[in-house]
Symmetry: C2
Subunit: 138 residues, 2 copies
Amino acid sequence: MTEHPWMNQLNEQGYRLTGARRAVVETMAESTHALTPIEVYDKARESYPALGLVTVYRTLEALEEQGLIQRVHRPEGCQAFITAPAGHQHLLLCKQCGQAISFEGDDLESLINSIARRTGYQVTEHWLQLFGLCPSCK
Amino acid sequence: MTEHPWMNQLNEQGYRLTGARRAVVETMAESTHALTPIEVYDKARESYPALGLVTVYRTLEALEEQGLIQRVHRPEGCQAFITAPAGHQHLLLCKQCGQAISFEGDDLESLINSIARRTGYQVTEHWLQLFGLCPSCK
DNA sequence: ATTGAAAATGAAAATGATTTTCAATATCAG
DNA sequence: CTGATATTGAAAATCATTTTCATTTTCAAT
């Protein structure tokens, strides 16, 4: 049986090769959609019924640490709020103190148009958030 | 007592003017940081101790609907994952079917540099997510 | 192949956040 | 003032995530 490259990478990092991990890895590696832990759980149990949800959480954490998967942010997914400025603006957040300021981002138009042309998607919305250190924290 | 403009806007939309709402509105309007519901709850109770957490959730929902506050996405805040491509890439998600594809976004460099210059922040990280309709959904 | 230390597992319990339900209360139009 | 109705907060219900722990599995060293 030849292992998935992600399994080999995990192995090189000291993780053991197990059936539960294999099921989660294969589910994630095959998907072209963003999946929540429960969705991964349901899908992966088709090939590995004994899988526990806790193992899904732990494996996703390991895969994210290895840079093999990334987080996708969803419209209703984060519960933190801040004043909305008039017009369309983007956020810049200080990682140290949490201070937030917003800025105009019209310059994105051309990037977005070129992505739309290249992918065939009709782009209707975008989010941009920057992180860093504010003048007094750096 | 002169009402905060947000209270007036809520009133015009048919919401009644109450002490609980006033406390939440003032907390949000004054803050330069992103706040979670619990943080709003704790802060707002300083001026309105009888406040219930449920009312915080409901008022935040109303304020978001009115476009007076916006959601802030946090690093660990969303639990949905997808394959991470090699190198730094951004995501484009289909709102209809959830299909996700990623693209390069080097073009952001100049925007980010100009923001950094203008704000004095040292920008260390950025997230960009686009939403729209994929070729087969539109 | 066997063994045994250490890692990994899944079930269950604990925790924490969010939503629903509901009787009591407050607002505001008339 | 009054009453219809929106709003409230407490408590319960729900749902997602984390912790705990006894058992099982992996794999390096025999």
